[in-house]
């Protein structure tokens, strides 16, 4: 068992990171949870629904984040980057860098006084790309473009969480073990999972996560049809391109594992909302091996989503006599065909976050998408696995064993 006096570092607070932290803390170990963003939840916060249940993603993620925040054995540092691990004289040291954020999320109680007093209205309840205000933990979001650094918010804060002159703070903490749960990134900056897919140069060519935000329930007005981002005309047809940038030696050789089901989820839920929408999913191999996933695919097919086994080789916006929209060139039997769609969703180019340097030197585990592409269920399993491997690192006389014996004696 690891030394319980030293914390175990968990980097990343997506589903995997939060689950790993909770699993370890529930076994009586101290956990230091580090998140570079201002809030817990990771990419799952950007999901409107989860497959295969079609339930909203908010509740489970919120409950996990809440449990992490309230757990007596979990310490959370938001706005903090993990810079690496090194071997100190008395064990491993983790180098952390707390960003120079004007509002310290760990002190803020979200009373809202700063938001009221700001003459520029630069402090908002939440980041504009998140649907709900009590982000986790709730901290006002500062719009850097609007803020003119008048400094009025500083004295208004009752907890001293605001400091305009705050510098980046680098510090080290002693850790016994480390779990890295960095998750995935969509290809950024904008250009291209692959150049033939038109990059992200046209507003009607979207990535799957951006499309999720566009069609999310909190963005959709009942009865209003899906519209093109370029000129606001109603979209009549939609094409998903699977494995865009993935299973591709030039970019990501892996299969991102979540995208077939993700496309089926988005397609079926749009089809239910707007049955006249023509939806085609261009795929290479349709992969739905998980629990309940085959039935989910079948359901999408029955709703009228067309699954086409072709990989488009060229995607380009067109505006001419043959129509307006995004043209897709793909094989059709022995020939080449062109399909016109109003919106194209590029699906699959999810890159695993690289593990930072130094993690290999001390005992470290990785879980979640960064170790092996995984959806929510598999991330949770991987997190439990990583926690178990850390707990079982040394057998015998560890502190947890002692704790169990004590329990045994008492009851």
């Amino acid at each position: 068992m690891p030394d319980t006096k030293q914390a175990i570092l968990v980097v990343g607070t997506g589903v995997a990171g939060m689950q790993a932290a909770l699993d370890l803390a529930n076994l009586g170990l101290s956990v230091h949870l580090v998140e570079q963003d201002s809030h817990l939840g990771g990419q799952a916060l950007r999901l409107d629904k989860v497959y295969p249940t079609d339930h909203c993603a908010f509740c489970p993620v919120w409950t996990h984040a809440f449990a992490c925040r309230e757990h007596p054995r979990i310490t959370i540092s938001t706005g903090t980057k993990f810079k690496g691990l090194r071997q100190g004289p008395e064990g491993s040291l983790a180098l952390l860098e707390k960003a120079a954020r004007r509002i310290d999320g760990d002190k803020c109680v979200f009373c809202g006084r700063c938001m009221e007093i700001c003459p520029q209205k630069a402090l908002l309840g939440h980041a504009p790309d998140l649907p709900w205000d009590p982000a986790l933990p709730p901290v006002p979001w500062l719009d850097g473009g609007r803020c003119d650094s008048c400094g009025k918010c500083e004295p208004a804060c009752p907890t001293g969480a605001i400091d305009a002159a705050r510098q980046t703070n680098t510090f080290e903490i002693a850790v016994s073990d480390c779990i890295f749960a960095g998750g995935f990134q969509e290809p950024r900056p904008a250009p291209a999972p692959a150049p033939e897919f038109g990059g992200h140069t046209h507003p009607d060519i979207l990535t799957a996560m951006a499309f999720e935000t566009l069609i999310a329930e909190w963005n959709a007005i009942p009865g209003v049809k899906l519209r093109c981002q370029s000129d606001g005309r109603p979209a009549g047809s939609l094409a998903f391109i699977q494995c865009a940038g993935a299973r591709d030696r030039r970019f990501l050789p892996h299969c991102s594992a979540v995208c077939c089901m993700h496309a089926a989820k988005q397609a079926s839920w749009l089809k239910r909302r707007q049955p006249d929408l023509d939806i085609a999913v261009f795929y290479t191999d349709l992969r739905a091996p998980g629990k309940g996933q085959e039935a989910y695919m079948k359901m999408a097919e029955e709703l009228g989503v067309r699954f086409i086994r072709r990989r488009p080789g060229l995607v380009a916006p067109v505006d001419g006599p043959s129509g307006k929209g995004i043209a897709l060139r793909h094989e059709a039997d022995a020939d080449v065909a062109t399909t016109l769609a109003d919106i194209v969703v590029l699906n699959g180019g999810l890159a695993c976050c690289p593990c930072p340097e130094g993690t290999a030197e001390v005992s470290a585990q990785a879980c979640g998408f960064c170790s092996e592409p995984a959806d929510i269920a598999n991330s949770v399993i991987q997190a439990g696995n990583a926690a178990a491997l850390i707990c079982g690192g040394q057998t015998g006389d560890g502190a947890l064993c002692a704790a169990f014996q004590e329990i045994g004696g008492r009851s």
């Binding site: 949770v380 057998t395 329990i407």
Partner: protein
Amino acid sequence: MLAAGCSLSARGFETVKFLSGRTFVEWADIRESCAWIHEDDPDGALRKALDILCMGLAALERRVLIAEQLPSGDFRAGEVLVIGGGPAGLACAGALGKMGVRVVLAERRAALGGMLTQLGLVFPHFVPGPELAGELIRDVEHNGVLVLPATTVSDVQPVPGGYSAALRGKNGEERRFFDAVVLAAGAVPVLPRGLYRYGELGGVLSQMELETSLGRVENGQKDALDLPRQAVFLQCVAARDEKNPYCSAVCCPTSLKNAIRLRSLRPEGSVTVVHRNIVTPGKHLEALYRRATAAGVLLRGHNPAAAPECLGTERVEGLRFRDALNGEDTVLPADAVVCSTPLKPLPDTLKLAEALGLRTDSMGFACAREPVQPVSPPLAGIFVCGAARWPAIVEHCLEQGRAAAVKAAAYVRGLGNCSGNSRCLPVAPHALWELMPDSAWRLPAAEVCGEKCSRCGRCAAACPYNACFLPEGTGMRIDARKCARCGSCAAVCPAGAVRLSGETVAVLRARIKEALSR
């Protein structure tokens, strides 16, 4: 004490914990359910806040002391039963043992290892199966796990405080008490009986038969020339159809692995995989796919609308299928057609699941709660992992086994900390309690008034958590460990003998009366 502020679930936690003990606490939420939702009407919000406060005061007057509940069962120190000694069960038992939890591992066969021992090589790292099994068994034996080989769990029942399992082994049947049960009973491959002329034509094989002969050749027990020269793997046999409407997840990787082995053992031959979709999600399995194509394994998609057909008179001579890409009927010459069949749960597993009150899906696999609690069903002290949950490759079985171990250890540990009474206040919603199974967060269970109880048994039938018991000679008893405070028992009790602690009818009535009188 009446406390007014935010909703309990947001910020009130620490305060309530601090106040708990001998004080009656009534909580009035005037933030989320009042101030925030009536942002545009401050005066109305103020009036509503006053109403909420008055309701709280009225409820507080009616509060009576909650009698301390005594532990309802024989609380023995945490012992966990792991059912199944395959990769998932071994990984689970080993991890639990390392964490200092006492474990009993029951395996129905005489030897541990399950299907792992039959696999010559395990992807994605191509480790010999028996070697991996040996490692896992060593782990289990070195960590004080009590292994019971050739033992079946003939019956398992929820009892107050835990589960009672009947273990039938060489020395007869023994009943034991366990705090938690991990179901890792695995699954078996379906045999392609009556399909593609299996059993009728020579050379039509099941995947397991090929696996065995490949293993023999690799061990030098058999000559490579006995292996097929023109092998065709047919995927999704008896899978993804009406009878078995699911993708079994393990068959594509298994076929690719065996195709690679066959290519290296008989490089002069040819290997084709006829598939509907090659399912190799992720990093490692996709690398296996690349390795297979690099080794010269041919992949052909077929259209399931036209069923493939094995050709030949005595021995198989070829496979006819419709190509998925050009739509043409194609005949592939073959001296062996390997049928890739899915995994199916054992009938015994279904029986166990039923006895535990565990839900199974239409295919018979045990259900947990997808996607956020994939190994924890909504039953206290029950966990599922491995192929009993859903077909999984060895690597995923190991991961699931260890994930279930962590949950079971935390559960047993939480029980150890809890003295069994329910002095702690009803602060946490059930979901949260499960995430933090610590004593301070426990809910008080429902309460029974023994005199009113007529032993009709409706509560026990209604309880979704196996928490209601009807012991001989007394009224109904509630197992405080398992009760999730859902209120089902109170709702169905015709005698009004059950109630949720604190929420008496008088309290509710006072609250409603106050609200309506204003």
